[in-house]
Symmetry: C3
Subunit: 261 residues, 3 copies
């Protein structure tokens, strides 16, 4: 049974998500439709990209991921299907793909599907569903689009080093527990740190943390800790408390790590 | 595989939606249950009707739509199953059906299903699920109810003309993007306008709009536009901004269109 | 088709619920995954227990219920699978089970599943999903854990009598309609009351209620009533209005019933 996931900013109150699911079931009665999130901040492709980047590899290969955010096609932002690590991603090339993938995808086609209606405001239902169902039925990408060689680049905050001892990153996401998830990956942390002692600084000097915990319960309830998140990024959190609110930390704030020989 | 959709004001936090789904799966292990919305404003049948009206035709014919809002049966509001354009709608006849359908439905039966419990507060689970599963198994409407010839009428704001040049409508729904959706349909707009020039007025004279856009991106980000919504109604919106909040527009506000020869 | 339900405090915005569902579909392509609630108050096992207690018996026997709240394993709170009335419950033994079950469960095993990752913060995905899929495939509990004889006890507010005429209970849950659900069961009410007249008191003397309604519509819109909830507990509500807000009632407030000979 094919799997189609949905990541959108459509919200759960209106009829839109229902319309998308109805349209899928009209084409494909037997399919697993999985909601990733419909509560992405309106038009925020950075947030949507982070959510998708951290979730897609939990799905089986061959899964089809519809991205319903900033979906209108323009000359600069055509509709595309992207094949990456044996997952299919369908959306508008508005810059989101360069934020999801750290390496070049295997294949990209620009969609040449024609809509059944002249209403151009709901391509998630009128275009992406058609493409997704075509792929789900085993159809090839080339039948519904023409290959293109590049995707639009988005400006992204990247972590960087200052000399051999300082690694700087940014807050990439704050989850509903108010855990603070940075863009510093576990591998990057260990490659740069090489086992040295370190201190993580954020916002104020007195908020520093000098060890990595394995679980939230490693520290007493209400105390701060650093941990690698389920998705493999450095996370600053509190055991059973709201780190971002308590520390006053926001998306894109700087996180600085000093390593000592 | 039968499709049962759910449109309710039950909310997603409590156990109620889970109970409804459990009850369906107890009767019918293999079925597609699709959430339309559980965040309808409590007891607001007008909002529920708008959501259902705009979504049901996106589902395959034969789909069964459970309406879980103002569900208690009284002598005046019996439980019914309605067949309309080959879709089944199950709910209390509290006036909602006259808001969903623009023409008379094919068939209506008043349900004569007896509950398994003497708790009468949850007919969505204890009555509607039974009726839905009966229909989903291919059962006929007549077996579970007796035919009735009419449905309760609700007062509804209807668009109307003032002379040959002015068409007036009302705000029917505001979606989570704060797009303002009116009750003026595309067909009505073109039938009345006959290709003439026009100006749409709402709230203040300076908010007028004199053209119909094809997509939100037809105007610069943050500018207002008129467009036909995915559901075919005249919509006033802003590209990537919150029209209803910025213009101070609410449900039931008047929208006035002047046509010029 | 096996049924796996999810009751968590993960929220619907982040990627976490999607990750759990992806992990299930990776192991078991054909399964019914049902969301009970993901909006349980963070870390609130009492609320999660109430939701599960009132919903699980609506699902078919053999259903598997994943409990994703306070999930980290410690020496004192191991991961367990519990068999109760032919339903399987999987979670951390943090005290929640004693709040769900009123009698001893049939069987309990402490899980000895090893994770694929060294990230210990997401057992819902990395441990509970494995256990659930094992059970869903027909595997036995003993293969994935060792039998234990007891579960951790949680302090719970219990209703109690004061002499032969007074029954006291507590507010156990307030639902999204602001109905006030107590921990006094229907059976307890009738066993203690033996058909006598009664008055229910809550917060202020003038808020008393002296009869049990069968449906919300038994009283005029906006009036208070007492009723047995869909889950069989004494509930104080208002017809089409928000009882808890209007009465200023909170979780754990006392409800006192006086019976008269």
């Amino acid at each position: 049974m094919a799997i189609i996931t949905l990541t959108t900013d459509l919200g759960l109150k209106d009829s839109y998500v229902g319309s998308v699911k109805g349209a899928i079931l009209k084409e494909l009665p037997s399919v697993s439709i999985v909601d990733i999130s419909h509560d992405i901040k309106k038009f925020d492709i950075t947030e949507a990209a982070f959510v998708l980047k951290t979730v897609f590899h939990d799905f089986p290969e061959g899964s089809i991921h519809i991205i319903g955010i900033k979906t209108e096609a323009t000359l600069k932002t055509p509709h595309v299907v992207v094949l990456f690590k044996n997952h299919y991603f369908i959306g508008a090339d508005n810059g989101i793909f360069s934020l999801i993938f750290d390496i070049l995808p295997e294949k990209v086609v620009e969609l040449s599907i024609s809509q059944d209606t002249d209403i151009l405001t709901f391509p998630t239902k009128d275009v992406f569903v058609k493409a997704a169902c075509h792929i789900a039925r085993g159809g090839s990408m080339e039948v519904i689009g023409k290959p293109v060689s590049s995707l639009r680049k988005s400006e992204d905050l990247r972590s960087f080093s200052e000399g051999p001892n300082v690694l700087k990153g940014f807050v990439a996401y704050i989850d509903s527990y108010e855990n603070i998830i940075t863009n510093i990956s576990k591998q990057q942390f260990y490659d740069f740190g090489k086992g040295r002692n370190f201190t993580i600084f954020f916002r104020r000097a007195e908020y520093s943390i000098s060890s990595i915990s394995k679980s939230y319960n490693d520290v007493p309830s209400g105390e701060r800790l650093a941990i690698f998140s389920a998705s493999g990024f450095l996370e600053i959190a509190m055991n059973s408390a709201n780190a971002s609110g308590i520390f006053g930390i926001h998306i894109r704030d700087v996180i600085r790590i000093e390593f000592y020989d």
